[in-house]
Amino acid sequence: MTFLIQQTLIYAVPLMIVALAGVFAERSGIINLALEGIMVFGAFIGVWFVRILQTSDAILSLKQSGNWVALQGVELLVMLVAAAFGALFSLLLSFASINLRADQTIGGTALNLMAPALVLFFIRIIANQNTLQMLTGDAASWFMIKKSTLGIDKSTDLGFFGETFINKVYLATYVCILLFIILSILLYKTRFGLRLRACGENPQAADSLGINVYKMRYAGTTISGALAGMGGFVYALTTANCASNGDVAGFGFLALAVMIFGNWKPGNIAVASLLFGLFKCIAASYASIDINGDGVYMLAEIGISAHLYRMLPYIVTLLVLAFTSKSSRAPKAEGIPYDKGQR
């Protein structure tokens, strides 16, 4: 059970934060189809930055002396850098769709094509192979919080909650959850959030009240890019052992589905991403999931093909969308370039 919850969280958290990224863009009126591309880009920048840090002796000595608090600081710094570059990359989308009134679907698709191409081009040049990994060590030994890092003896039992939420976890997971809560409050309880949402519903009305629609849309898309970039690195760190290969296995698109399923509302999105995280977790590690702790790996023993488990998240997404589509309500003005002269 502990394993199941931890694995589910690992898949659910990047989905959740990237789905929120989608919400910020779409609530401001821009369809951000580029989430996948920005994630790929953020993951690459994060891993590359880790590699750069690992060439410095100061950082290496932190690791050797076992200064785990400082290493967590490093992790946060890398997340910040990934977010910054995700935001920068998303400016390509905002510029095209806000200033040049481009087709947002094509613009987003262009970014989705560009990110893996750029990333793979540089990975080949940097590492002379198709995957960029950490220079030394792995994600678990550098950034994972374990009993041993906290100075607790390995044999101590921390109880169910301790074992699940303190042992073998990443700080990034909790930072993302915290950010998710803060940003949801920002979107719903502040003046900025209200204005942002107004631009996605009725930009003409918002403009007539003195809100700068262009600025608000830039803000929405940039926050979106930052979150997606960070989400991309968190995905690479927690599920791919801090490696980047120009691919995030369709997570950006799954996040879009989560966002639509969650009806563009943070609370629903949190629930939806947990559900998808669970299915992703089953697909990835169904053979080693022991639900009730009796040593029987039930899912593996039913004899269903691994291929079916891998298909499940996508089939479920389609089915769920089919059943919820009637009640779903997208922001009214999303995807429509804002034109001041239009009535």
Partner: protein, 417 residues
């Protein structure tokens, strides 16, 4: 006076916008090559110069001579291979372009392509070639694959038409379902290549069963290449789609649904049915592309594909966008795209750079085509301002700096770190 008319004509503006996008894309690619050449310790400026020359003229590259300098000339292998690779691209391009004209963004081409691969290969390898004519098997495999792709395209079409679910999302989900399904079915099939022990994870070539696309004499024209009649079939399809979309009532109905679904229904057009049909045609076209590629007899399919989607499917998007979704234009943009592909391979073989730079160029071109309307507007304004000027082809260039510099700046921002 006459030239002003030319600059204002819609067709000219479309072509000019596409040419401009291509030039800017190539320029951005060159800039990236130069930056990498200057900053990377193991690359020199002359290596960067070689890289740029190959990006532009890889088609006519014949390798390096004994002294290590690049040599150029007519390369029948390269040109034949370009034609061979263009055939499936034309089909996926038609698929995306045709759907786009009917208001649907068919990002599901990779999935439809995979399903086409599955069914075509299964028929081509499964039917007994001892008792049946191989030509008949080829035709059955081609038609079967195409129909299967059409059925696969119907799924997102139904979701869009009856449940109003964004076709982009439905297509993406069906893509991944297709990738897993194809892997699964090939995994339990007996088409996996076990005859050649060096090849693991591949399906037999169709020549194993004696099935291959007719060469139609093209192999005489371009000796040493993989070219076959597929390119001719693809061109025929392109012309067919053009006629269907522009010259028939049926095509007009599809387009009417695309521009305004509700108005079309008001005019008595069955909008739901048309959405499903246009996704079915799009799916069929993509799958036909897969059939052309894998029935050729000299290509092998890597069956464990559940983690990746075929690039040819996605490349249908840039091909279609660059041609403004015009079926005839798609023939030329596919040729251009497969030329870039060849250049990419030459780049990997002959220099320290790799083929992904051509994907960057393609992405930049798609990005620019997203606001091709704005570019067209600039070109139109340019024509009004200047009464007489130099060569008409050179005219659009002055409008370039705005997007080019913005693009390059952000690109540099990404590189600097």
């Amino acid at each position: 006076m006459k030239k002003e008319g030319l600059l204002q004509s819609e067709g000219f503006k479309s072509v000019a916008a596409s040419v401009l996008s291509i030039l800017i894309g190539l320029a951005v690619g060159s800039i990236v090559i130069i930056i990498v050449g200057l900053t990377s310790p193991n690359l020199s400026l002359s290596a960067a110069w070689d890289g740029i020359r190959i990006v532009f003229g890889g088609l006519f590259s014949t390798g390096r001579d004994a002294a290590g300098t690049l040599t150029w000339g007519f390369n029948s292998t390269n040109i034949g291979n370009m034609l061979f690779r263009a055939a499936p691209l034309i089909m996926t391009g038609l698929s995306v372009g045709m759907a786009y004209k009917t208001g649907l963004f068919n990002i599901g081409a990779p999935g439809q392509y995979l399903i086409g691969t599955l069914v075509s290969l299964s028929i081509a390898l499964g039917l007994p070639s001892e008792t049946m004519s191989t030509t008949l098997i080829w035709i059955l495999a081609f038609v079967g694959g195409t129909l299967a792709g059409a059925l696969w395209g119907v799924i997102p079409g139904m979701f869009k038409a009856f449940l109003n679910i964004n076709e982009v999302l439905a297509c993406i989900m069906t893509n991944w379902i297709a990738a897993n399904l194809v892997t699964w079915l090939f995994d339990i099939s007996n088409f996996k290549n076990v005859a050649e022990s060096t090849k693991t994870g591949y399906i037999y070539k169709t020549t194993y069963n004696g099935v291959a696309t007719a060469k139609m004499g093209l192999d005489k024209l371009f000796p040493g290449s993989q070219v076959n009649g597929g390119i001719i079939i693809a061109v025929v399809f392109a012309i067919g789609v053009y006629v269907m979309m522009s010259k028939t009532t049926f095509g007009y109905q599809l387009k009417a649904c695309g521009s305004n679904r509700h108005a079309a229904r008001y005019a008595g057009i069955a909008d739901k049915r048309n959405i499903v049909i246009s996704m079915a045609i799009a799916g069929g076209l993509s799958a036909a592309g897969a059939s052309l590629y894998y029935l050729s007899g000299n290509t092998e399919f890597f069956w464990s594909t559940y983690q990746s989607l075929p690039a040819i499917g996605f490349n249908g998007i840039p091909v279609a966008m660059l041609a403004s979704c015009n079926p005839i234009g798609i023939i030329f943009t596919s040729l251009f795209m497969s030329m870039l592909d060849i250049s990419g391979l030459q780049l990997t073989n002959l220099t320290a750079y790799n083929e992904y730079i051509t994907n960057v160029i393609i992405a930049v071109i798609v990005y620019l085509s997203a606001f091709s309307l704005v570019i067209k507007m600039w070109i139109g304004k340019l024509g009004k301002k200047k009464d007489d000027g130099a060569d008409a082809n050179a005219e659009p260039v002055p409008a370039a700096p705005a997007p080019a510099s913005a693009q390059a700046e952000t690109e540099k921002g990404g590189d600097a770190k």
